[in-house]
Subunit: 217 residues, 2 copies
């Protein structure tokens, strides 16, 4: 049975209710498909939106930042909104009004927690690398104490969250279907290219599966 | 000569200065490549980030919203941050620390203006459709007064704005180049599929060039 989150005043949909999803399966599926996220925070009383990468562990989402970064400092302990979205297609209808896009998005509201314990931070670095590139962590040069200090890890519980999804073709006003206007969808997806090896790689070092098999979207 | 914007306390880069761009050519190129944007606004004193589509006209960026939408209402006349970003590749280094992504992003800060004049709104609807699908507007069923009323158009001057761009391969610590660890880049791009015609299109209606030639990214 799918785990469903409570709607709140912030997450309930005011319009297009059929596009809203509150089950963790849908929310997690979107978070896991797209590392790119946009974190909203308050900067001098005004909103700011910084793109960064997120990864998920259970019912928490994590992201990192330089300890010197303003976005990180202004998020730690503060209310943020983390949004992940993917454009899946351009939907062309017979009227301008009904043009739309196919998309998947998740919005998560909450207070961001900064992780201070160096050992937990190290585990989070590992989980981040492994989330994107399974098996890579153990191949890497170990992280130094200075690097751990220089990197901030933030987390947000996936509690006050919702997904929005649109799929399918255009929906026109009934009478507009009689018009000789082309309507349809142009699908958009992500394409992952073949790995480009660093020319400075040592001879004989082979491209690992986690590079060749990387998938997104 | 390229038109360069002044840096402000909000747009100057605190780190990685080499990634910052303040010339309109770079900023406009990113905005024109990616309609998907994330608008940050304040909801009950806390940040919210809503994905929507933007288009550019000269030194202004525009987006639309339902008149019933909370995101639109809370943006009109208020401070917002509009961010556009594209993930161009996953960059794998020899240490966890130097893992990175190739990306292009733009952040625009400012007060959003709602366009109220119905005739100007109509021009903006046209410009939006034409920005994505050149030649489509004149084929469509005309917009009704009710539809104009139901749709909000917002704009933001591209004045307090900056772009950030990372390209190329991994940059490792000097001593790490001696390690037998694969480093490199997995390129990510957008792929546009062949248009899918609505099965309810009238017989003989052909797929227009603006659907076949749609490009993104």
């Amino acid at each position: 049975m799918s785990d469903v989150m409570d709607k709140t005043e912030r997450t309930r949909l005011r319009r297009m209710h059929e596009r809203g999803h509150f089950d963790r399966e849908t929310v997690n599926g979107i978070l896991d498909a797209m590392p790119l996220c946009h974190v909203g925070y308050i900067l001098d009383g005004r909103p700011a939106v910084t793109p960064t990468l997120q990864w998920r562990e259970g019912n928490h989402v994590y992201w990192h930042s330089s300890s010197a970064s303003r976005a990180g400092r202004l998020s730690a302990g503060m209310d943020v909104c983390l949004t992940v979205s993917m454009l899946d297609g351009m939907v062309m209808a017979r009227s301008a009004m009904h043009h739309s896009v196919n998309f998947r998005s998740v919005m998560i509201y909450g207070k961001a927690t900064k992780i201070d314990d160096p050992e937990i931070k190290l585990t989070k670095f590992r989980n981040m690398i492994e989330a994107y590139f399974p098996g890579r962590w153990d191949l890497l040069r170990p992280v130094s104490a200075q690097e751990t200090k220089a990197t901030m890890v933030l987390s947000l519980p996936i509690e006050e969250a919702s997904a929005k999804v649109r799929t399918g073709g255009p929906k026109d006003d009934e009478e507009d279907y009689a018009l000789p206007i082309w309507a349809g969808v142009v699908p958009i997806s992500f394409s992952v290219g073949a790995p480009i090896s660093d020319p400075l790689n040592l001879p004989g070092v082979e491209t690992p599966d986690h590079a060749t098999n990387f998938r997104i979207g």
